[in-house]
Subunit: 359 residues, 2 copies
C-alpha cells in the first residue's frame, strides 16, 4: 500500500471507536475489591478521570487501606471488609464490581457480585486454574450479568489501530508474531502473591506477563490459539516456588500463524509486539507497560502511526461501562478469558512434558 | 551503565579488530566453485574490493557463466568445469577454494580442495545433512588445511560490537534472545535448489534463513545451543516439497538462555536480533540482509551505536585470508558449523515429533 492509502485506512478509525452510550449516561458506580498497588495507583485514579464511571465503595482486608482511599477520593464513601462485602452490605451503593485481588480469590468475589446481580469486571488472568476460571464462566452466565475480563490492551488505540491495519490488508497476510513482556520484580520484595502458586496459579511470568503476549496477539490477529510449546526455568532463589522466572513459548494460532513469545519477571523492562506479514510489518514498541507506540511498514513505505496516548485503565473502565449502559456484551467475555486460561495452562504443561500441547 | 561508560567500551573495539596480517601480505588467490547469483553478485565483487584476496579461477557447470565472469573480472583468468576442477587442472593458480554450490554438493568440492591441500571457505549451511557435514569435518581435519564456514555476520561490525557490549556487561546478564529472518522468494521462480530437499537438505526456511538466527545468537551470546523446539508448515504449493514455508523455533542455549526465532521464505523482507538482559536490551535491526544497525539500552540510557557500514562479504573473505596468512584457525571451523547442522536437524526433528529435542 502507498502512504496515502494507509493514512486513509487510519483516518476511518477514531479514538473511542467503541463508544455507543451518551457521555452523560453514567456514571456507573463501582465497588473495587482488593486494594493492592494496582487498584490504588492505577484503577482508582483512572476511574476518577473517566467519563462513565465512579468508585463509591472499596473492599479490603485492611481497614487502614479503605480509610486511606476514602480520604483520598471524594466519590468513595464506603469501606467494607471482605466479609461485609460478602454479606451484601452497601450493595445498593454500587452497580458494578471490579475484582483485583490475587488470582486465586477472583472466583470468590465474582460469585458474590454475580449473586448480587452486579456487573463484573475481573482482572486477568481470570483465576489461578482453568477449573476455577470455568466456574467464573458458569457463575456469570447463570446470573446473566454483564461480565468482562480486564484486558486493557483491547482499548489501547495503538493496538486497535494495529488490528484495523491488519484487517485492512496493509501488511498482506499475517505470517509470524513476536512478543515479549519482561520486567524486574525482585526489587518489589519477596512477600508477593505473584510468587505463591496457591495465590497466583501455575506460575508467575507467563500468568502475569505472558498473558499480554498471548491475548494481544490473539486480539490483533483476530484468531484463536490452537497449540503451544514452551521452555521455562527458575534459577534465582527468589523464584524457587514457581517454574517460570524466565519462559519462552510459541503459540500456534488459527491459519498456522506462529507467535514466538518470551516473558520474565527477572529482566530489564521490555515489551513489544510485532506482526510480520506477506507485504509488511506492524511493530508496537513499547507495547504493554502503560504506553504503546505503533509503526507500520507496507511494502517500501514505513510510517509512525500517530495514535492518541490515553490512560489505558480509564479507557478500559469506560469501555466496560459503555457496554453495560448500551446493554451489549463486552468483547472480553469470561468465555474469551477462559481460552487464555487454557492456553496458559497448556504452556506450563508443555514445559513439564517437553511436548507440543493442543488446546 | 552511563552513556560515557558505554562509549568507552565501544571505543576500545575497532572496525577490523580481527586483523593480524599485514595489508600487503596477500593476495590469497581463490577458485570460486559454483557461479550462482550469490557468487556473481556478492562474492566476486567483494573479493575484487578486498585487501587480501583475489579471484583467479572460477568453476561452474556452465561455460557461458565462466566466460562471462572472465570477461567481467580482470583477475579471473581460468574457467573450469566441475570435472576439470576435480582433475586438478590449474590447481597451481589458486591457494584457496570458495564453495558456493547447492548445499548437497559442498562435501564433494570441499573434499577435492582439501585433497589438493587448499584452504577451504565453505558456504553455510555446511551441507544437506549432519552426516555429510561430519564428513566435511573429517576431510578438512585429515588434510590439515585452513577451513572456515562462511558466516558473514561474524565480521559484521554491528554484530561484533553487540557481542563485545554484551561481554562488557552493558545489558547485565543475557535473559532472552529474539530473532527473525524472512524474505519472499516466490518471485525468484520455482526452479530453485532451495526448494529441493535432495539439494537443500532438511528444508528451506530454517536451513537457509533460520541458520542466521541460530548462529548469530550463538556468536553474540558466546554460548552453544543445547535443545530446541519447533513448529513449521508449508501451505503454498510453491513449498510443497519442503516442510518449512514458515517456521518458528526456540533454541535453548547454555545457561538457560532461550532464543525464540522465526523464518520464512514467503514473507515480507524482515530481519532482526534482540537480546534482552537483566539491565538492558541490545537491538540489531536490520540484521541479516546485507546491512546491520545496532542500538543498545543500558538502564535508562539508549544509544544508537555508530558502527562502520562494511561490505559483509569483503570482510568475511579478508578475515578468512587473514587467518590463513597469520596461520591461525578461523573462529567458524567446520566443527563450529557442525554444531549448527545438528541444531538445524533437531529443529526439523522437533517439528516431526512434536517434542523438545536435545542436541
Amino acid at each position: 500500500m502507498e502512504l496515502d492509502e494507509i493514512q486513509a485506512v487510519l483516518e476511518s478509525f477514531s479514538h473511542r471507536d467503541w463508544q455507543q452510550a451518551d457521555e452523560d449516561a453514567g456514571p456507573i458506580r463501582f465497588a473495587m475489591v482488593g486494594l493492592g498497588w494496582w487498584t490504588r495507583d492505577e484503577a482508582l485514579p483512572a476511574v476518577e478521570d473517566s467519563t462513565l464511571c465512579e468508585t463509591t465503595v472499596v473492599v479490603s482486608g485492611s481497614t487502614e487501606k479503605t480509610e486511606a482511599v476514602i480520604d483520598e477520593h471524594e466519590s468513595v464513601h464506603t469501606g467494607l471488609t471482605y466479609e461485609e462485602f460478602g454479606a451484601g452490605e452497601a450493595a445498593d451503593a454500587y452497580d458494578a464490581v471490579y475484582v483485583c485481588t490475587p488470582n486465586a480469590r477472583h472466583l470468590e468475589f465474582v460469585d458474590i457480585a454475580a449473586d448480587q446481580g452486579k456487573a463484573v469486571l475481573c482482572e486477568k488472568p481470570m483465576e489461578a486454574t482453568v477449573e476455577r476460571a470455568e466456574e467464573i464462566v458458569d457463575s456469570c452466565r447463570n446470573a446473566d450479568v454483564t461480565a468482562m475480563i480486564a484486558y486493557r490492551m483491547h482499548t489501547e488505540p495503538a493496538i486497535r489501530r494495529a488490528r484495523e491495519l491488519l484487517r485492512a490488508g496493509v501488511i498482506g497476510d499475517p505470517i509470524h508474531a513476536h512478543s515479549d513482556m519482561s520486567q524486574g520484580i525482585i526489587g518489589w520484595g519477596a512477600d508477593q502473591w505473584r510468587l505463591d502458586p496457591d495465590r497466583a496459579g501455575y506460575g508467575t511470568s507467563v500468568m502475569d506477563l505472558g498473558i499480554y503476549s498471548v491475548n494481544t496477539t490473539r486480539f490483533v490477529l483476530g484468531r484463536d490459539p490452537i497449540a503451544v510449546q514452551s521452555m521455562m526455568h527458575s534459577d534465582h532463589e527468589f523464584f524457587s516456588a514457581v517454574p517460570d522466572e524466565v519462559a519462552a513459548f510459541t503459540v500456534a494460532f488459527e491459519d498456522d500463524i506462529y507467535a514466538t513469545c518470551t516473558a520474565s519477571q527477572n529482566a530489564h523492562l521490555n515489551s513489544y509486539l510485532r506482526i510480520v506479514g506477506s507485504e509488511g510489518v506492524i511493530r508496537i514498541e513499547p507495547a504493554f507497560h502503560g504506553e504503546s507506540s505503533l509503526d507500520v511498514t507496507s511494502g517500501e513505505t514505513t510510517i509512525d502511526v500517530d495514535t492518541d496516548q490515553v490512560n489505558q485503565m480509564e479507557a478500559e473502565f469506560d469501555y466496560f461501562a459503555d457496554c453495560f449502559l448500551s446493554d451489549r456484551e463486552p468483547y472480553a467475555t469470561p468465555e474469551h478469558g477462559l481460552l487464555d486460561m487454557r492456553t496458559l495452562a497448556a504452556i506450563y504443561e508443555s514445559n513439564e512434558s517437553a511436548e507440543t500441547i493442543e488446546i
